[in-house]
Amino acid sequence: MLLIRCPYCEEERPELEFRNAGEAHIARSPNIASESDDDFEKFFFIRSNPKGIIYERWRHMHGCARFFNAVRDTVSDRFLMTYKAGEPKPVKLPGAAK
């Protein structure tokens, strides 16, 4: 069971309290109705599914109920950092190799 730091509660809590909510930083277009088929495909269907660093959304379901973003290594399952929804994708990652 993983430990996840909720950036709103500002503490590590067990995975049981959280729910994964898919890849992060995929913004819904404000003009979605006029998007091309290709753009909608990219937005709705295509995910990076990386081996290594993934930026993903989590929800502190059984805690503060907030959605937030996390950086996780899919190989080791280690969380490198978490940050609030709406904050930019971090450039520097703590403890990441290279």
Binding site: L2, F40, S76, D77, A85, G86
Partner: protein, 997 residues
């Protein structure tokens, strides 16, 4: 029967209390402190089981958790039968009842042993080869016969009457293993004040100090030191000591699962005691002090009862005071067996001979054995063991061939060396490394915050072990944030040390032989089987393991893995590390289902949700159905009525007078705030900005892909307040969906979402008399059609309590849904029921609710839709705001395939024979005469007998369905083809006049 193998003056079971027990119906006595194994051995009993595949007689191999052979059933009463208990672990209590397994009719004479004769058929890979064909053999032979003959123990056939508890714990340092290493590490960590948990699988701490008679620490013998150190640790507030506790699983981020056996060793466990306790421990640092396990020698018939590990015989003698025989042979490739021979000899037991595979070993152990007059033979092998139900001889031969000599013995002690217990390290995702010099896998690359110390780390010798463990314990505490303390490292006065040994088959069981030299006792895997697997093309050890089942039994190959690997490597002509070690997986030793399940069983398995009106329905004799976690009244049968009669009556009564229905389980969400309408516009297909306060609208929610996600009636209570209803099952995910968009896509909107499902009880009153029933109880709401038209909502009071009164209908009749605070739900229901009685109203359940809505063609999301249905497919285009420029699903809905012709559309279906009721889920075809497989153009989603229509009615999804109106389609069923006509979706009151009727 007297315990004739108990040696006076040996062992530690002092101030003994006698414990009577039985094995296979025969009474025996043992001593409190015994294991079942030591007590049986004290009585001279070695034969305790039959093997899994060949039903060969088996005795005790070990004195611990690695035991592959001595599995028994412990029976407390009819419901408390535990199969596959290791007799070497089970502590004795007065009255213990044990049975052998895997034998018929008796342990000494087992018919199943005939499979030994047919054993060529049961060689490696026999599962894959034998059970292929003919097909009929599965039914008649393989399943009933082989399954009965094989298998391990018998599962209990009654519910488990015991209870199991669970605890979470946090600590700075978790020490796993309570031998010399674990105790030293725990002492060092505890001295810093860190929170320490020390766990060991045995009843008493000490590990190998239980048998190492040569160990002296702090002026005491090793085992006594362990007990005083433990007393010191137990007295410290920051230390928790857990005996009889096995760490079975090491998970991510130092999360470790432990099972504490609380009462299996007690004669009469109190009912308040759990049987086992699951500990889920999160540790900042873990110290692995899991020791090493001795390996057996792989030679012909090495499984005869009486043949065991040297350290086991030593444990039985030095700890339990039991000699495992009177005339003992020793077969070794390592020094440690000498210590066993010496201890037994000193206790007055005859040691017939030590057979040592090594050519010219030297050292104090060898000198001492010789000095005691024990015959020592170097460069020789035991090539065969004689005897059947008990070993009677060992045949010795020079290891490179030559004359054979048979030595009569009643026990053989073996040692091929020691395997570090890297199981938990490997579970932590650490990578082991092979030490070519000592021929063992030791911890290499660590993946988690843990450290291995002592024998499990390949550290030899007591002094080096305590040095390493004490330093590691102190460092673990420091790394976990504790202040260093000035402690005192335990001083080792004397210790034992050995390493090396051999891996693989011994001479006489080599590639040129066909003997049964067992590698894995529990799964009956021989050296020959492993070679055969390689010859048949298995290259990786993972394949060899699966093909032969080596290491796949409940002991997970604790004694067999290294031998199996070495034989495979030799056959492949590759070095061991290139063949690779199999991955160790949790659990380390078998774990009961009970300990994992804990209290989550029976009524506590899953929460049960009941409405405020539930007790009333129960009193009325309602039959309930499960809807998610909810219990819902399904129908209310009168005496003599079955479900059909009850539902027919309920449906007719609702349309004739009125019915009361408990709709409390409907999901309810309050959407509040200055931007509430804007938010609703984005989450639902419908327009909301212009909906006047006091009015309601049927809303459809889509996912971004354009498919229907949920639906429900929404009332606008005020410009900034919406009372949203959802489907019963959809409430949590709809709330999550709304929160997700509010928090992440539309955070600029000033809106709050509150789940109010549990806050409001909902009583639906439907039917022509519904207003007459409600009106007398309502205050402050004008109930006239002009003031309260269909699809409107008012706040007021009913029976003196607040209400949100909806005028809405899910039956097609004039209808209301009375929302009252849940605490008043039952009282208001009772009052409405009393009014209803005056008009001949009935209570109806979910089945009638379904029939009534289907008569009107109202859909149920999740029944008539399946996640691939658009509003247009469902005939709900009217509910999509045509002028809207954005809502969730607006783009997905416009995808080419979703607007293409020929999509499945929801239509009505009338069977040609009105009495025939279609089966929900049945497939629909256009031409019933076509060849199988037929082209299926749709399926039935809802189907009922409608007493109000006097016929069956159904809804279905049919390709191009609306254009087929009037067409005849076909539903092929096992008993014939059913003709149906495609119709509109409304079967009753097509004009909708009854909403105001």
């Amino acid at each position: 029967m007297s315990a004739t193998f108990r040696i006076a003056g040996a062992g530690r079971l002092k101030q003994a209390k006698i414990a009577g027990f039985s094995f296979d119906g025969r009474p025996y006595t043992g001593i409190e402190g015994d294991t079942l194994a030591s007590a049986l051995l004290a009585n001279g009993v070695h034969l305790v089981g039959r093997s899994f595949k060949y039903h060969r007689p088996r005795g005790f191999l070990s004195a611990g958790a690695e035991e592959p052979n001595a599995l028994v059933e412990i029976k407390r009463d009819a419901a408390r039968k535990t199969p596959n208990v290791r007799a070497t672990v089970q502590e004795l209590y007065d009255g213990l009842t044990a049975q052998s397994q895997n034998r018929w009719p008796s342990l000494a004479f087992d018919v199943g042993a005939v499979s030994s004769i047919a054993s060529p058929m049961l060689s490696a890979g026999f599962y894959y080869k034998t059970f292929m064909w003919p097909k009929a053999a599965w039914k008649n032979l393989y399943e009933p016969k082989i399954r009965a003959a094989a298998g391990l123990g018998v599962a209990p056939d009654q519910p488990d009457p015991d209870h199991y508890s669970a605890r979470f714990a946090h600590c700075e340092v978790l020490v796993l293993g309570g031998g010399a290493a674990g105790i030293a590490a725990a002492l060092a960590a505890a001295e810093t004040g860190a929170r320490v948990i020390l766990a060991d699988e045995q009843a008493e701490f000490g590990g190998s100090l239980r048998f190492e008679s040569g160990a002296k620490i702090e002026g005491q013998d090793g085992f006594s030191w362990a007990q005083s150190a433990l007393a010191k640790l137990s007295a410290m507030d920051n230390v928790r000591v857990l005996p009889r506790t096995t760490a079975f699983g090491y998970y991510a981020q130092n999360f470790v699962g432990l099972v504490e056996r609380v009462s299996d060793h007690l004669q009469n466990p109190g009912r308040d005691l759990p049987r086992e306790r699951l500990w889920q421990v999160r540790a900042k640092r873990v110290v692995l002090a899991t020791g090493a396990i001795e390996r057996h020698m792989v030679f012909a018939d090495n499984d005869r009862p009486g043949i065991m590990l040297a350290s086991a015989a030593r444990t039985y003698l030095n700890h339990y005071g039991v000699a495992v025989g009177r005339n003992i042979g020793v077969y070794t490739a390592n020094d440690s067996a000498y210590a066993a021979a010496i201890d037994l000899k000193k206790a007055g037991i005859n040691v017939a001979a030590i057979v040592d595979l090594r050519d010219n070993p030297t050292g104090p152990a060898i000198d001492e054995a010789r000095a005691l007059g024990i015959q020592v033979n170097f460069g020789r092998a035991v090539i065969r063991a004689g005897g059947k139900l008990r070993v009677s001889s060992m045949t010795v031969q020079p290891k490179n061939g030559g004359g054979e000599r048979s030595i009569p013995v009643d026990a053989i002690l073996m040692s091929a060396g020691w395997t570090p217990s890297v199981h938990l390290f490997s579970q932590s995702r650490g990578k082991v490394a092979f030490n070519d010099e000592t021929k063992r896998f030791v911890p290499g690359i660590y993946a988690q915050d843990c450290v291995s110390v002592g024998a499990c780390n390949g550290t030899d010798g007591l002094s080096a072990t305590i040095d390493e463990a004490y330093a590691a314990g102190a460092k673990a505490a420091k790394d976990a944030g504790s202040r260093p303390a000035k402690g005192t490292k335990p001083k080792v006065d004397a210790g034992e040390s050995w390493s090396r040994g051999m891996l693989g088959a011994a001479p006489g069981a080599g590639a040129d032989t066909t003997v049964k030299a067992f590698v894995d006792f529990q799964n009956d895997v021989t050296a020959k089987d492993i070679r055969q697997a390689v010859h048949e093309g298995m290259r990786s050890i993972e394949h060899v393991k699966r093909f032969t089942t080596n290491g796949m039994a409940t002991d997970q190959g604790k004694t067999s893995n290294m031998h199996g690997l070495a034989i495979a490597a030799e056959t492949l002509g590759k070095p061991i590390p290139q063949v690779g070690l199999t991955t160790f997986r949790a659990p380390y030793t078998p774990v009961t289902f009970g300990s994992i399940v804990g209290h989550a069983r029976g009524p506590l398995f899953d929460p049960t949700r009941k409405t405020a009106i539930h007790p009333w329905a129960e009193r009325q004799g309602a039959v309930f159905e499960d809807v998610g976690q909810w219990k819902r009244a399904w129908y209310f049968p009168k005496p003599g009525e079955d479900i059909h009669a009850a539902v027919d009556r309920e449906c007719v009564t609702v349309r004739k007078t009125a019915g009361l229905f408990d709709a409390s389980t409907l999901g309810k969400i309050e959407v509040v705030g200055p931007d509430a309408a804007k938010f609703m516009e984005l989450l639902y297909t419908n327009p909301w900005e212009k909906l006047e306060p006091g009015r309601c609208r049927y809303g459809i929610m889509l996912r971004e892909d354009g498919f229907i996600y949920d639906d429900g009636v929404v009332g606008r209570l005020a410009p900034d307040r919406f009372h949203v209803t959802t489907t019963t099952g959809g409430a949590p995910r709809v709330m999550n969906h709304m929160e997700d968009y509010l928090q992440t896509e539309f955070p600029h909107l000033n809106v709050w979402l509150t789940s109010i499902t549990e806050q409001w009880a909902v009583i639906a009153v439907q039917g022509p008399k519904s207003r007459d029933i409600i009106a007398p109880l309502v205050e402050g709401i004008d109930m006239s059609d002009e003031a309260l038209p269909h699809m409107s909502v008012r706040e007021g009071r009913i029976c003196g309590v607040p209400t949100r009164l909806f005028r809405m209908s899910f039956s097609g009749e004039r209808g209301f849904e009375v929302n009252v605070p849940a605490d008043y739900g039952e009282a208001v229901w009772e009052a409405l029921w009393a009014e209803g009685q005056k008009h001949g109203a009935c209570a109806y359940g979910t089945e009638s609710m379904h029939v009534l809505r289907a008569e009107k063609g109202y859909i149920i999301v999740g029944q008539d839709t399946d996640g691939t249905v658009t509003p247009n497919d469902a005939g709900l285009d009217w509910a999509v705001g045509k002028k809207k420029t954005d809502f969730v699903g607006i783009r997905g809905m416009a995808r080419p395939d979703l607007v293409a012709k020929g999509r499945k559309q929801l239509v009505g279906l009338k069977t040609r024979d009105p009495k025939v009721v279609l089966e929900e889920g049945a497939q629909i075809v256009a031409d019933p005469k076509q060849a199988i497989p037929m082209k299926m153009i749709g399926h039935v989603t809802s189907s009922y007998w409608s007493q109000n229509c006097g016929r069956s009615i159904a809804l279905g999804l049919v390709a191009g369905g609306r254009d087929r109106t009037g067409e005849t389609l076909y539903v092929p069923m096992p008993n014939g083809v059913i003709e149906v006509e495609v119709t509109g979706m409304v079967f009753f009151d097509e004009k909708g006049e009854r909403l105001n009727g």
